[in-house]
């Protein structure tokens, strides 16, 4: 371990003596302290959080990711080009330890910078929150600078339901000329609509289980996060709904008529004591508007409850960002093993940007083409290059999925709790699996390659 420690220390020394760490610290502090104070917001807690938390954390993540790429590529490629690596590999140290030492050194520098920037951003947030009106300050403390867990209704098995319904349809009428996959696709949409739409005058009923900690949460203030879409617009943009939470027959149940806008998130605070004996919450929404409302299964309704402090949640968010940095550092060091510094930097930045375009790749995979896709007919024009780009998109989509699934910034800016499971998922999928594969590749290449500047 002593050799690894020395290589790591050397990498840290390099970052400090080249003024890299100092320069980046200054840029980060400027970005999270000075710049947010210059950005105007409309004085609401939500906008304030959006600007400060989302902006600061996104900027920290982007700056650290790009600087990590640069530092990691330089740490290996420059040593190879400058001949310093020759001196190291002539000593009794395995080459994989050199790789690891460099990676650890980079992580020490970047995690140090992350903690510095994260702390500065939090301090700036607290400082600037004092300028908000008192009511918004209270909302900020209650809704955003908190850590709230959320529970949703478990998703129904749409595939099974669709299969059953398709069988029923075939029995009801002759559908011999309709292929099974087309029938299944159509029936699946129908099943989904049954779950998501609420016609005028109808009710939608959810039962959300608050889990094993329900007893603890029983007497804490909980709230509903609601978002719906409307089949057509209303005159004033609002839709009349009646909410009954805690059981229709319960005299102590929460009942309220609310006029809500479509397409935005609403938070409905609930009094404590609405859970039933099993720790479940009974929620009923009656559509009294003239339009059909659609509550998507993914984000239609969630029950929020306090769980831990914002600071701890913030720390978990920064830990998830650190997991990303670990992957980026591994990519950079590995690219530096077999490419010159400029080429390695360009390659890794390209990969990084490709990783950020995960949704685009997912769309290409879903539609099966890079050409235009008609959502009405489900048909595409197709492209000559689909044979190459669609499989590539599959690979990129697969690789970027774990990275995208563990984004902490959105959660922090809305006060949602980042569960430990998500932190572990980031550590496991992003750092250990993807980062580990990259590390093994880098170590193998370094062990096998020749290390000499000249022939």
């Amino acid at each position: 371990m002593q050799e690894i420690r020395f290589i790591a220390t050397l990498t840290v020394q390099s970052a400090l003596r080249m003024r890299f760490a100092q320069m980046l610290s200054a840029v980060l502090l400027l970005s999270v302290i000075v710049l947010p104070s210059l950005i105007r917001h409309n004085g609401t807690a939500k906008m304030f959080a959006q600007v400060l938390v989302t902006y600061s954390l996104s900027l920290i993540t982007a700056l650290l990711a790009i600087s990590t790429l640069w530092l990691a590529c330089a740490a290996m490629a420059n040593d190879l080009e400058g001949g310093q690596l020759q001196m190291l590999v002539c000593k009794p140290i395995s080459r994989w330890r050199i790789w690891l030492g460099k990676w650890i050194g980079i992580m020490v520098v970047q995690i140090g910078l992350l903690i510095l920037a994260g702390t500065a951003a939090y301090a700036a947030l607290e400082w600037q929150a004092r300028e908000l009106p008192p009511g918004e300050q209270e909302k900020l403390r209650r809704e955003i600078l908190v850590s709230r867990g959320e529970r949703r209704e478990p998703s129904p098995d749409l595939t099974r339901d669709a299969t059953l319904l398709a069988e029923k349809r075939r029995k009801e009428r002759p559908l011999n000329n309709v292929p099974q996959d087309v029938l299944l696709k159509e029936v699946a949409s129908e099943v989904r609509a049954l779950h998501e739409t609420v016609a005028p005058g109808y009710r939608r009923w959810w039962v959300v289980d608050l889990g094993p900690q329900a007893e603890v949460r029983r007497n804490k203030p909980i709230s509903l996060r609601v978002q719906f879409h409307a089949a057509h617009a209303s005159a004033d943009g609002l839709f009349r709904t009646v909410w009954i939470v805690g059981g229709d027959n319960n005299p102590k149940a929460f009942r309220q008529e609310l006029h809500l806008g479509a397409g935005v998130e609403h938070e409905i605070p609930l009094p404590p004591g609405l859970l039933d004996a099993q720790g479940k919450l009974d929620i009923l929404c009656e559509n009294r508007a003239a339009a059909t409302l659609l509550f998507r299964m993914e984000d239609g309704l969630a029950v929020l409850f306090p769980e831990g402090s914002f600071l701890a949640n913030y720390a978990r968010g920064l830990t998830v960002i650190a997991c990303w940095i670990a992957l980026v550092a591994a990519l950079g060091v590995t690219a530096g093993v077999f490419l010159s510094f400029p080429v390695a930097t360009v390659l890794v930045v390209s990969l990084f940007l490709a990783g950020l375009s995960g949704e685009t790749f997912a769309e290409v995979v879903r539609e099966g083409t890079i050409a235009s896709f008609d959502n009405e007919t489900g048909r595409s024009e197709g492209s000559l290059f689909d044979g190459f780009f669609v499989p590539m998109a599959k690979v990129f989509s697969y690789l970027s999925r774990p990275v995208e699934s563990v984004s902490p910034i959105a959660a922090l800016s809305t006060g949602r709790r980042i569960p430990w499971v998500q932190v572990l998922q980031a550590a496991g999928q992003v750092s250990l699996a993807l980062g580990g594969m990259t590390a093994v590749a880098g170590m193998l290449i370094l062990t096998r390659r020749e290390i000499s500047r000249t022939g």
């Binding site: 002593q2 003596r17 001949g83 020759q86 001196m87």
Partner: protein
Amino acid sequence: MNLPHRSPSHSENPGGSVVVIRGLTRVFKDFWGRPRARAVDGVDFDVRQGEVFGLLGPNGSGKSTTIKILLGLLHATSGHVEVFGHHPSHVPTKARIGYLPEESYLYRFLNSEETLDLFGGIFRLSKAERQRRTEQLLEMVGLKSVQRRSVGEFSKGMQRRIGLAQALINDPDLVILDEPTAGLDPVGCREVKDLILALARRGKTVILSSHLLADVEDVCDRVVVYYGGKVQALGSMKELLATPDSLRVTTPALSRETVASMISLLSKEVPAENIRLETPSRTLESLFLDIVEKARHAGGQTSGATSGNQVAAFIRGDSLSPETGPRILDRLAQAPLPKPAPASTTPETPREPLHDAGDAARLDRLTAAPSISPPQPTPSTMEPAPDPRLREAEGKLSSLVKPGPPRTHS
């Protein structure tokens, strides 16, 4: 964990070969895999334990490629290479090797002390041991006074010195020096050669690659001469340099009569035109060393490397204590120089016996090597000789002294 100190007696192969090379070939290829250059071509040689082995050859002859293959930096295209009985990529074996590359590949942002501490750390030396060795090595290479300056600020020669120090931090059994005197001043060159002799005295094996023939000639026991990637000559210095059909006699200044008698005597066996008589001049090296030594004694300050430093105690082994250990420059002044001036007319530092038989034998051999100094005029005067042979000898002497300054005949 500290690496065990290995004296030669602990070696797995006492008296045997430290390096074995058989049929070594290395072909450099281009991007498309087509052969571009045959840098090393079917090379065979062994390096025995305790010898100073020279790799000689012009630039691009394959010396550095061979060294890099020995160190595992390059792979052999074909052939067999063993270092201490292992493949060059064997990591634990590297604990016994010290390497000075042909250029400074050190971290420019580290200072001398940090550089040695880094490499000592990679050799798993304890902190106390690293500090001890760092101090001694910096003293040895004359960088003690500039140990806090970063290596990037150093001159080429100073970078060479710190490079040499890092190559010795692990007290290696095999020291590989690629062009060790490149960029060094004459004092530094002499100190490096003295260091190589000190290493050899302790039974260390030294591989020295150079195209500076004087470096190799001064210190090597055996050499291999490369040209075009192939071995052109291989053998001991004695075998390669001996000229058995000639003899050289060196004496202190003699009287004119004695010289004339000697030439007369020699003329009986050898034609007069085959006899060369000359007064060697002092070499520029000895003059330079003298000036630096005087300046040092006069307390002159320098912001660069200092000279006249003693070989690090851990490199010398325990045979010499720091108190009794000779200072290199002092020894140089006392020891015979490679091109001695036996009948010099300028004052010379008196010579004293060498420190050990090994040095004596090596330096004796060096003094027997043919002089490359041009003949210098002698200030001695000559008497007319009655004997015809003496007259003939006098004629020869006169021809030798013709360019000299005018003198009054007594």
